[in-house]
């Protein structure tokens, strides 16, 4: 950024906005980690904590909305300042969605703990979760450091996340076909996998927003996509 504003308070307000986003990011990251840990441990209490803590993420999202409305109305920002503020609203919305997916995953963990889902499928979800968690952590670092190259690296990694998700989808279908008694458990796992994959998409959006706030545009070319096989009409083999 091009140094400090003549008006110091404007700088303070922008810093406060970024601090709120960072706090929200840290919390979303922790929610995602906690819901995966709860799944791994079959820990209903931990899952319930994730569900309860979602309200904190929502509160921070509201704080971001309040701060941005005030900044827009009172400071009439342009250029990089305007982009920082616009991207903040969108990043907050993405983080709020990621936390929602963590919450939904936690809810399903509670249901799952009453049955016996296939352990191999659970570890597949954990692997997907680790990928998305790392991507989220990296994109938040990129945000804090304003590092567009790092954001781009995260953005490109979404392809791998999509591939793991596709593999998991096939795997779960196979389990369900082999043993219909697993259908309930596997369906929950499938929704969890979808949740985490969607969280990964939001991470990708944040990566684009990190680029937008620095340069005024996202990553121009189409994002690498690896999940076309999902929409083939044949059954998984």
């Amino acid at each position: 950024m091009a140094g400090e504003h003549t008006l110091k308070r404007f700088d303070e307000e922008l810093e406060r906005l970024s601090a709120t986003i960072s706090e929200m990011g840290g919390l979303a990251e922790s929610q995602l980690a906690q819901c995966l840990a709860a799944l791994h441990e079959r820990d209903t209490a931990a899952a319930e904590k994730v569900i309860a803590d979602d309200a904190r993420v929502d509160a921070l999202d509201e704080a971001v909305q309040d701060q941005t409305v005030k900044l827009l109305a009172l400071r009439q920002p342009v250029a990089v300042d305007l982009r920082v503020i616009l991207s903040s609203i969108k990043i907050a919305a993405a983080l709020e969605r990621i936390a929602d997916y963590a919450k939904n995953t936690a809810k399903r963990t509670i249901v799952l703990s009453q049955g016996t889902p296939p352990p191999a499928a659970v570890s597949g979800i954990e692997r997907l979760g680790r990928l998305v968690r790392t991507a989220l952590k990296d994109v938040l670092d990129a945000f804090t450091q304003g590092d567009v190259a790092k954001a781009r690296d995260v953005w490109e990694r979404d392809e791998e996340i999509d591939q793991v998700y596709t593999g998991l989808f096939r795997e779960l279908l196979t389990y369900m076909m082999e043993d219909p008694r697993t259908i309930t458990g596997c369906t929950h796992l499938l929704f969890m996998a979808k949740n985490i994959e969607r969280a990964g998409d939001h991470v990708t959006n944040i990566a684009e927003l990190v680029s937008f706030r620095a340069t005024g545009h996202g990553f121009d070319e189409a994002r690498p996509k690896g999940s076309a096989a999902l929409y083939a009409t044949g059954t998984a083999s």
Partner: protein, 271 residues
């Protein structure tokens, strides 16, 4: 030596929108010295016909000097020297054989403070025609109505045309000055901070007027108010220390300026 018509523009900081009606003013490597002090350094930009072009920059950056060079108002200053060229419709404004009075008739000018003459509203508007010796009553009356309508003042002024212009409010006086500037049917309107002495309501009226006049006239406006530049212009030139730093589409200048210094200035980080 090239004759000055071959200006190389650095596309990264030169990205104006093009109008549909070609070029009104062609400024090529224009420099200006007040005695020993150089105020403008090889400024090159093309002003599109029918568009509004805003000149912005901190005090002393040369934006008013550049504006006043367009109608040669700086000529009266002792020790003034210029370099480069400035053309209107392809003719060198500073070329030999240019009739300065005729040149100025092609350019209306509006100043920072409203400067109506101490005479009636009617006489103020037709002043340029009086200077030309026009006496045709119908023509004068038509000009008054057309100009006052053009400056959005007709409804307020039509019943008091023969009262003194000095009884009007500041905003009305400024619109009267705009009426006077367009009475002679110029091609270019030069505005030097036309709203800086006006309240926000009067300012909005003038800005609306600028919007309406664009298309009929080519408008070049100097303003300290960056938001005003953003609101009324299609192209914005940012100047700093006598140099043109960036000239581009106003939209781009205020969302993704290319030059670091432009960004610093418009976001309030120096100046």
């Amino acid at each position: 030596m090239p004759d000055g018509s071959q200006v190389e523009y650095d596309k990264t900081v030169y990205h104006p929108v093009r109008g549909e009606n070609g070029t009104a003013l062609d400024i090529e490597k224009f420099s200006l010295w007040y005695s020993e002090k150089q105020a403008l350094f090889e400024n090159s930009l093309v002003v599109e016909r029918g568009l509004v072009t805003a000149l912005i920059g901190p005090s002393g950056c040369g934006k008013s000097t550049l504006l006043r060079s367009i109608n040669r108002m700086n000529d009266l200053i002792d020790g003034l020297r210029i370099g480069g060229q400035m053309k209107i419709d392809g003719r060198d404004i500073y070329g030999p054989g240019i009739d300065v009075i005729a040149l100025r008739k092609r350019m209306g000018m509006v100043f920072q403070k409203p400067n109506p003459f101490p005479m009636t509203i009617f006489e103020n508007v037709i002043y340029p025609l009086r200077v030309d010796g026009v006496t045709d009553k119908t023509m004068l009356e038509e000009t008054v109505e057309r100009s006052l309508r053009g400056s959005a003042l007709w409804d307020e002024a039509k019943d008091r045309l023969h009262e003194s212009a000095l009884g009007m409010s500041g905003g009305q006086q400024q619109r009267l000055c705009i009426a006077r500037a367009i009475a002679g049917d110029p091609e270019v309107l030069l505005m030097d901070e036309p709203c800086s002495a006006l309240d926000p309501i009067a300012t909005s009226r003038i800005e609306e007027l600028i919007d309406e006049l664009a298309g009929h006239y080519t408008i070049v406006i100097v303003t300290h108010n960056m938001q005003q530049a953003a609101r009324v212009s299609q192209n914005t030139a940012f100047m700093y220390l006598g140099r043109l730093i960036e000239y581009g589409a106003t939209e781009t200048m205020f969302t993704t300026p290319k030059a670091e210094r432009t960004q610093a200035y418009i976001t309030g980080r120096f100046g």
